[in-house]
Amino acid sequence: MTNYHEDTTAEIVKEHGLSDDEYKLAIEILGRAPNLLELGIFSVMWSEHCSYKSSKKWLKTLPTEGPQVIQGPGENAGVVDIGDGDAVIFKIESHNHPSFIEPYQGAATGVGGILRDVFTMGARPIANLNALRFGALDHAKTRHLLSGVVAGIGGYGNCVGVPTVGGETNFDPAYNGNILVNAMNVGVAKTDKIFYSAAGGIGNPVVYVGSKTGRDGIHGATMASAEFDDESEAKRPTVQVGDPFTEKLLIEACLELMSGDSIVAIQDMGAAGLTSSSFEMASKGGTGVELDLSTVPCRETGMTPYEMMLSESQERMLIVLKPGREADAQKIFEKWELDFAVVGTITDTGRMVLKFEGETVGDLPIDPLALASPEYDRPWVEVPMPAFVELNVPSSVKALDALKTMIGSPDLASRRWIWEQYDSSVMADTLQKSGGDAAVVRVHGTQKALAMTTDCTPRYCYAHPETGGAQAVAESYRNLVASGAKPLAATNNLNFGNPEKPEIMGQIVGCVKGIAEACEKLDMPIVSGNVSLYNETDGKAILPTPVIGGVGLMQDSSVMTKIAFDKEDLDLIVLGSSNGHLQQSIFAKQILGSQEGQPPAVDLDKEELTGRVVLSLIENEMVVACHDISDGGLVVAVTEMAMANGIGAELNIDESDFGLLFGEDQARYILATEDSDSILLAAENAEIDALVIGKTKGNALTLASGASISLSELSAAHETWMPGYMEAPVSREA
């Protein structure tokens, strides 16, 4: 029954990644077979990357609303009210597939794309963060990918002049063939100067600004929606090349145009370039659009309409202007030496009509294509809670030796080698950068500050997706609280394997359920996000990695806390219940060689309550230093606090109490204080467990038995692993 246009074949349809059913639906929508250009447009609009067809059903279950939310998911980025007429605008997005193929450019353009998502809405970007996952340490590509990704993130962000202030990096063999590069950007705008993407005003001009269109990145969205195999290297030409200098010009030019009132709608050209930007704008505005592709600024001669519509050349934006504002707008873009072209008009036809050299080369109805894109209820199987595993610690294990091993292990060692390659202090508003709980950036010219963090513990998510999803949100919440900020909202980046496999779909469903429950309970609505599926190579999937990007607000940045002990004789108090949960911990992995059992339980009521109490103690200036307890447990957290300023601690903990030292029970914070009576009273009143564990003292870490290890020895282990790994001579072994 299926028929083909004269310039396509069954083979070409297949290459475009459309299933038989999807192709039939395309014919039904058009009332005829699509030509090659139209087929290309269907292909990218219905790709997993653009349509969220596998995840849409589940994404709808996430809480996205709250009095603080100005704009939830569905726009370029989420918008949250931070008072005084200011708004924070933020989003996280993946660039996983391109970064594996070409790490420098893949990561760089990931940063560029997320910056555009944020400034498109009227914000000046003020901070970059990231969440990175790489394969096994001994995998042949790991160092190459890590060094390329880090250089690419730095190369782009440093040039644009937006500080990169935080992030996380993990290693696991599950990422050997599919690294994860998730980039987050945070910007600040005025609430009365926020720009949206819905087109409007029949006859209004559609304007193209930024870089010229080249042949790069064609089918990037389709590539990001397929599994990898040995042939993936051949896809290198579909990776785009970034130009941060042009991005910087584009930010300044757009913000200058936005300071006036010429703009009706604005949208960046990200995945699927001109196609998805024009489609989304018209679809959201309920309009049609007519584009004359002969007017598109091209980098090369002889580009076809197909190439122009599918190009993913970077640093481009599409703007709908009010009538008669073309000359004013053009002047601004010429000042910044950027291309400017009127490429079309808004129509009332509800169709996208594409013209080239006087002829109509494509004609598609907008709503059926953009809104009626497939939505699947893919089959899934629930991942059960693993059986409880009793872990026995051999008598040969010495607590402080284990601590040194762990703190210098790839899981916990310092990431300084990475973050020193990022300009973290440009814009001169960075109050706290990588190395603490959350990064903190001041809202320029005010006393307010925003705290931000990226978090996910993939080993928990793999063991039990629902617990892992909730834990990622809980850890984000704790990191914000520990810096002195009230958690506001979050963005998420859901990275998974092939959703057509029921067990992978089960991971997605479980993680989303956990995230939804935690966001609801902790009042952190999800305001933006991104889904990256098909992270599989030769049938092997990544660990489920739902990264949470959390943002919190400090009304007065002078209350900010850091993790560093800044003097001796401070009391150290653990708030929250310690139950000695060692399964799935870093101690179990690094010291006992066990990666089995249950992740620590997440009690959201306790998280919320403990966080609320800690925040009020910080706001009342009873806390000198604060750190959440996560990977590695209590003694790792104390060590990080001690190493930050070279002041040690004497702990009254028994050397053999491995559960207390290294357990990863959730909802816990360490507070260093001169006012322990007030803290203990507050804990008692709130019915939260509080445990005095010792005092800050000297330049070593000492346990109840008197066993001791110097901070210099711990710091050396902590700081040397990554430079040693990255800068060791290249091995010639196969």
Binding site: N158, C159, G161, P244, F245, E420, S425, A428, D429, L431
Partner: protein, 229 residues
């Protein structure tokens, strides 16, 4: 003190410099666009950090040939104080106001960290609020800050006492581990012969507020304020 900040399209520390100058001088600096060929009458001209024209070629090489730099050179030669930070230092060496060149960091990587600097000469308009025996703490953030000069030039710079700052440890000692980029003689900043032009890789403007990293950078602007007002 009247000041001007040169703004190239890829400058990204122009606002930071503007804020530091405004806070110290109590007057709004002139922000001078790279395409302008008129320089307002000012006491000090600052060339901020960033990537002037993208710097895909040699850093600062294109900026050195921009219309506004002809004005900056003319003013410098008439004795106006000129401060170039990071990319600004690169531009000053490219346009010949300062000797030497800034090469790729020895590590081949961008480096952003706080460093300690010795103050080599505290008798200039830029540095007289500093003490010679107390290191200052400021940030570097660059990929190309490795100061190089041919032997004769280096000898002249050292012989004439033109070195402004050197990378050191917290005790003020010149040790290799304190040098973030491989600069010759640990040079972090230099003066011209007349001491009215200073180029430096570290960013004093990022350390002009205790909340964001201390006041050691602010002292440089306060020195200028004292000398030029």
């Amino acid at each position: 003190m009247k000041s001007a900040v040169i703004v190239f399209p890829g400058s990204n520390c122009d606002r930071d410099m503007q804020v530091a100058l405004r806070e110290v001088a109590g007057k709004e600096p002139h922000m001078v666009w790279h395409g302008d060929s008129q320089m307002p009458e000012v006491d000090v001209i600052a060339i901020p950090g960033g990537f002037s024209y993208g710097d895909y070629l040699r850093c600062g090489a294109m900026a050195a040939n921009s219309p506004i730099m002809r004005e900056v050179v003319a003013k410098a030669n008439q004795g106006t104080a000129v401060l170039g930070v990071c990319n600004g230092f690169q531009v000053l060496t490219e346009c010949g106001l300062l000797p030497g060149a800034l090469m790729r960091n020895a590590s081949l990587k961008f480096v952003c960290r706080e460093v300690n600097l010795t103050v080599e000469d505290n008798t200039t308009a830029f540095t007289f609020n500093y003490s010679k025996n107390k290191p200052i703490r400021v940030s570097v953030a660059h990929g190309d800050g490795n100061f190089f000069a041919e032997q004769a030039t280096l000898e002249k710079i050292e012989g004439e006492g033109q070195v402004a700052f050197r990378y050191c440890n917290a005790q003020g000692e010149l040790v290799d581990t304190a040098n973030p980029n491989g600069s010759m003689n640990a040079i972090a900043g230099i003066f011209n012969e007349k001491r009215n032009v200073l180029g430096m890789m570290p960013h004093p403007e990022r350390h002009a507020d205790p909340a964001t990293g201390g006041n050691d950078g602010r002292l440089l602007f306060e020195s200028l304020m004292g000398a030029l007002s």
